[in-house]
Symmetry: C2
Subunit: 411 residues, 2 copies
Amino acid sequence: MSRVGSCITVYASRHGKLLSFLAFMKRIYLDYAASTPVDEEVLKAMLPYFSETYGNPSSVHAFGQDAQSAVDTARAKTAAALGCLSQEIIFTGSATEANNLALIGVAEEALKKRKNIHIISSRVEHESVLEPLSYLEKERGASVTYLPVTSGGFVRPEDVQNALREDTALVSIMYANNEVGTIQPIAEIANVIRAHNKKFRVFFHTDAAQAASYLPLAVAQLGVDLMTLSGHKMYGPKGVGALYIKKGTPVAPLVHGGGQEYGKRSGTENVPAVVGFAAALERAVAHREEAAGQAEALRNYFIAQITARIPDTRLNGSRENRLPNNANILFPGANAAELIVALDMEGIAVSAGSACQSKALAESHVLSAIGLSKKDAKSSLRFSFGNYTTKEDLDAVLDILVKLEKKFRVK
Amino acid sequence: MSRVGSCITVYASRHGKLLSFLAFMKRIYLDYAASTPVDEEVLKAMLPYFSETYGNPSSVHAFGQDAQSAVDTARAKTAAALGCLSQEIIFTGSATEANNLALIGVAEEALKKRKNIHIISSRVEHESVLEPLSYLEKERGASVTYLPVTSGGFVRPEDVQNALREDTALVSIMYANNEVGTIQPIAEIANVIRAHNKKFRVFFHTDAAQAASYLPLAVAQLGVDLMTLSGHKMYGPKGVGALYIKKGTPVAPLVHGGGQEYGKRSGTENVPAVVGFAAALERAVAHREEAAGQAEALRNYFIAQITARIPDTRLNGSRENRLPNNANILFPGANAAELIVALDMEGIAVSAGSACQSKALAESHVLSAIGLSKKDAKSSLRFSFGNYTTKEDLDAVLDILVKLEKKFRVK
């Protein structure tokens, strides 16, 4: 059991009455940025591929070809959503794996041709970008520039321009931030990179895991060479991600074997998961404006209410060019970790930063990068809204927050 | 669409009447070694984790902890089936990934300490072992010895002993072969390795993907340091594998990020898939003897019938120490590829070798290793039986084989 899990257990046993109450109360989930439930229609699309159409897509016979056909269709749908070719889509086991494949894959190919490579990224990337970059620095001798961001959370295209070097092989800047929702100027950065291209081609990767439900995904308009998507961040299943790899972008595989996924990711295809991924992406694209409008209205209401009702609270990160479903709020003087546990006891799920780092006790590197003090970073909560969030949910959460926040304010 | 897929389409359009007939006839699946349907109970165990318990296991709140608890339980069940500690189980996205993690992970750790490493494997391994070994040879300077096998398909423990060197870092020998079902003397090989250990510790990995439904999996009795399992080969879901890593075995991760799976495989856990994996493994262990007895009876009947009814056919590989559900049959003079397509048109699914290589046109490296000529290797079919195979299925297949085999015999 996790460290934090044990904390909650201890807390729970001290509050036995609350616990038995928990089972009966309505739970409210405001952590859609960490994971989303699989959409009912998506699950329905997946179901036949567990026990009915169960062949191995690599098999020659009809059982195998039925499975292969499902994978082909899922790939074509995904490509259509991105405006690219089917063979430019590689399905992976997670967005983390897709990020690793993009970064390590491009770096390894560049390292075959030259000894030194340089990579540009930012200080607000997800761990699944920062950690492979750290691996490339430590184990493969890569040099990495981590660009700062503005107080709003934005990477400046001119900073990318200034950081580009003769030996730059790759730029990786996320599309939308998982903690504060900042939408980066991807197309502008792409233009800067295109204008630079000198001796070696510079490839541009973006992690779009948080973007899929709300932002346009046409890769040609974005101008990227590689783009990561995640199933479970867009009402699709866990255990599946995708990497768009523009034709002609050399990427070495991380996993070797039967040569599936155009030799870039061997292993029997996860048929139900890729079917679910494509169905979720198709739905996301079809309902994008509606979902964005709904999320934005809820978010604006929430921000207005919270800043009005709880003194000194404020929004972290820019309000403009922000994911419509993200509100990252500073509660000055409050202990966010305690507040999360207290909210959890009331059946309300929020987080302090990315799920992947929520078990660590360090303050958020994203909030530090946008200029928050250690203390303020540890007094901030991320509320992320989704398809099933209602105004009534938010009103209930606001009432409880008003009540709890005083208790956990450390002056 | 795949090359072979197009072949079938061409074949199908030439036999239009057969195709329309296909939809109505009973299909018979004899390719359980390629993939198995998800067991009904296993799917039932998975279902709540798509849209109900959908939290990210890394999240602190109850939604996350419910998911974490499901992963913890799945890990504990898997460990119990193997007789090891929970923290010795790493869930991956496939058995291919688990094999890669074992081989590349151990090799990379050894390469941190010394410049040259030697690895011992065999000529009958699966592509997901041979390909990462080839990568380690070409890209990381490893030296690999591929041991020959007997005509029965067995690696000789004394060959392992003779191959061990001062710089050997790793031995990887599969538990049971995917093409001819040979069960390797894993415990004996482990003893040889243990007796050798000199300057550097030699780690022993086995790919047990094909073994889980029929063979004992207690890692202490097998004497292995690393063992690969596959979900979809044992009536569990695709998209999930596991690697047993004995405590104290240094393994570098392939995928870096949030630090899930004890830092060995980052990425949000595929909760429904690991729940399904553990449920499938638990079922496999509980029903092992029954399943083995049933499969063996069917297989023996099939072999007896086929060798009696079709002149000159014979079993490839040893009959002793063979997976109870595997029959690899040589049809001298027949073209296996054509026979597979013709059987497929009759609704019968069999294969020529591993699914992962079935789209390649080369003859099986396993059949070559046990001494078959190119021609005989291309005249062999793998029949693999499973939980839903009946004697009636086999009788139907035998009748059709008798009829078809003459047609496709090239003298």
